[in-house]
């Protein structure tokens, strides 16, 4: 809704602009913007750099203004432009930093609709130009162009109408509970409920659905994406009574037959199945064919899909064969399972970075990730055909992250289903609130291999930093258990979702919990 300030300001500006708006004023104004305010090309930038100084004191700062009636630059702070205006009776000047027009008669900046329009157009032109100019040197932390300029949302006529006809407003305060809603258990369906809680509190997914971005092209009523959209509406409606997700359950049974029935299922399996169905139903939106899985740009892929690099090194010729596979989650083996847990020395790579301590001897998430990304000798019974040696050789295999997803889900493999035993591993694994994935990246491994053992940690590289936002826990045994979820609201408030019951939780509650599925969200998002 437009600010009160702008509605009382007349869009016709002040009466003193009329003496300026003669002859070829529009073109003249454009030239001023192009040359001295928003210089898009290298040429205009050079000229601006040289000529934009105060004609009276030589300063380049102090809020430099240009007279609109003649070629005169002077600073505002020292009142040099005021002197010029008075002596020459040139009443209008333009701020060279922001492009605002100042009227010396009104003694304030004025907002003339026509001039604003010209300003907007010239700014966009300059931005576009800067975006495509390739610069001779680009440091790693600098991007070549700036891209589209961010402009704040302004409602259209239709939107203003809608807002006027629907005067009820919902105010989001820091202790408001919107977005929190319990889910009724329909018979061992906590495995579904716990995942729904995690998904409805995934910020990017929430934003996607609440801004109505799903345009359904499915003919039948069985689109799971539509149902998710409906679910988000329910969660953010402000209703406090628990929601009964019977339609969602029915759709899950329809599309993921292996999860049908009233038995308790695995929450992790449900997560993967749900993402898969959503991904397939989303793809129909984009018109992409199912046989091109690598080029899907659906919201699920944008948020959850990462790339896992697998390097197989031949022990004889040291040739490396690399493949990259997409992933939605990382499944981590735990100590105490029947798979050998690499004996890790305390501390070392990663742990110090993620602020974990080994004083208690507890295994950390970072330990599990280190184990996951360690080189593994494949043994004489698993020789790989090496394209360099043209024969079967022993090799080592190593997994690293090539591309990190926006939301990273870690699955702690607590349920063991080997031939001889079925059991739950309850080993406590400590996980951090903030996680830096840098040590596990393929690029970090390459640096290590090139002999750079001590990586210069760039304090301003935020690409690999993650924040915890949801934790799914399993209580009980393999045969009879119960799932609950901790979710994060408003940056530092946590809530426990136990089917229909939502209670406030402390950060300590969350971090002390056993942890089964851990959901992390990238802290900083870059534009593509």
């Amino acid at each position: 809704i437009p600010d009160a300030l702008t509605t009382t300001m007349s869009p016709a500006g002040c009466p003193h602009v009329n003496s300026f708006k003669v002859d070829n004023w529009k073109q003249n104004l454009r030239v001023i913007y192009q040359c001295f305010v928003w210089s898009g090309s290298a040429e205009t930038r050079k000229r601006k750099a040289k000529s934009c100084i105060c004609h009276m004191c030589g300063a380049h700062l102090n809020r430099l203004h240009s007279c609109l009636y003649c070629v005169f630059f002077a600073c505002f702070a020292k009142k040099h432009i005021h002197e010029h205006a008075k002596s020459k009776r040139h009443n209008l000047a333009i701020d060279l930093l922001y492009g605002g027009i100042y009227c010396f008669m009104c003694q304030d900046y004025i907002y003339d609709k026509d001039m604003e329009q010209i300003a907007k157009e010239e700014q966009r032109k300059a931005w576009k130009l800067q975006g495509t100019t390739a610069l001779p040197t680009c440091s790693r932390t600098t991007r070549c162009g700036i891209g589209e300029k961010y402009s704040t949302w302004e409602p259209t006529k239709r939107e203003l109408e809608l807002l006027r006809h629907n005067p009820k407003r919902r105010r989001i305060t820091s202790n408001c509970t919107i977005g929190l809603r319990g889910l009724i258990n329909l018979g061992n369906t906590c495995f579904m409920n716990c995942i729904v809680q995690a998904l409805t509190h995934t910020p990017l997914l929430r934003d996607f659905f609440l801004s109505d971005r799903h345009k359904c092209e499915m003919q039948s009523n069985s689109c799971l994406v539509c149902e998710m959209s409906q679910l988000f509406q329910e969660f953010y409606s402000g209703h406090r009574s628990p929601h009964i997700p019977f339609r969602l359950l029915h759709l899950v049974w329809t599309h993921a037959r292996h999860l049908a029935g009233y038995e308790q299922q695995d929450a992790h399996e449900f997560l993967i199945a749900a993402l898969d169905v959503l991904h397939r139903h989303c793809k129909d939106d984009n018109g992409k064919k199912a046989n091109n899985p690598n080029h899907c740009n659906c919201i699920i892929d944008q948020i959850f899909t990462g790339g896992l690099q697998s390097d197989v090194t031949c022990q004889v010729c040291h040739g490396v064969s690399t493949t990259i596979d997409p992933f939605w989650d990382i499944s981590l083996d735990l100590p105490g399972s029947s798979t050998p847990f690499w004996p890790l020395s305390p501390g070392g790579d990663g742990s110090a970075l993620n602020g974990e301590s080994h004083t208690t001897g507890a295994t950390t998430l970072t330990d599990c990730l280190r184990r996951f990304t360690r080189p593994e000798h494949l043994g004489s019974s698993a020789k790989i055909k090496c394209s360099g040696c043209h024969s079967y050789q022993e090799s080592t295999k190593q997994l690293t992250m090539k591309k990190l997803p926006i939301v990273a889900c870690f699955h702690l493999k607590r349920f063991e289903h080997s031939a001889k035993l079925r059991r739950k591993i309850t080993t406590y694994v400590s996980f951090p609130l903030e996680l830096d994935m840098t040590p596990f990246m393929a690029s970090s491994k390459e640096s290590r291999m090139n002999g750079q053992y001590q990586q210069t940690v760039d304090p301003f590289n935020n690409d690999n930093k993650y924040s915890l936002f949801a934790v799914v826990n399993h209580q009980g045994t393999l045969e009879s258990g119960h799932y609950t979820t901790f979710i994060r609201q408003h940056k530092d408030q946590w809530f426990k979702c136990d089917d229909a019951i939502i209670t406030k939780a402390s950060i300590k509650d969350v971090l002390d919990s056993e942890g089964y599925l851990l959901f992390y969200h990238k802290q900083f998002l870059e534009y593509e």
């Binding site: 290298a42 750099a49 300063a59 380049h60 440091s139 932390t141 600098t142 961010y150």
Partner: protein
């Protein structure tokens, strides 16, 4: 002009020429929005407008009122990062 202000002018020229000034401005804008500084300033502006009265307040009034607070509230991390960027740029383009 003093030696210091001459140096400042030279640096400014170089930054403007190479388009780095615009990039830094946008980086600063993004950082200040991210850390909530922009919202704080907006709130303060509204207070000043309420005080002075909607009909009489000028941009100049606002500038005088909010500039000291604005300068003080810029987080150190933002200052550090900008400085780091400027230094890196100058190192690359040293003549």
């Amino acid at each position: 002009m003093s030696k210091e202000s001459r140096m400042k002018a030279t640096i400014n020229q170089k930054l403007t020429e190479m388009g780095e000034r615009e990039r830094l401005k946008e980086l600063l804008r993004a950082k200040l929005t991210e850390c909530g500084w922009k919202d704080q300033m907006k709130a303060h502006c509204k207070e000043v407008i309420k005080e002075k009265g909607l009909e009489h307040v000028t941009v100049e009034d606002l500038m005088v009122e909010i500039t000291p607070k604005g300068r003080a509230l810029v987080p150190d991390s933002v200052k550090k990062e900008l400085l780091h960027r400027i230094r890196a740029f100058l190192a690359q383009h040293a003549t």
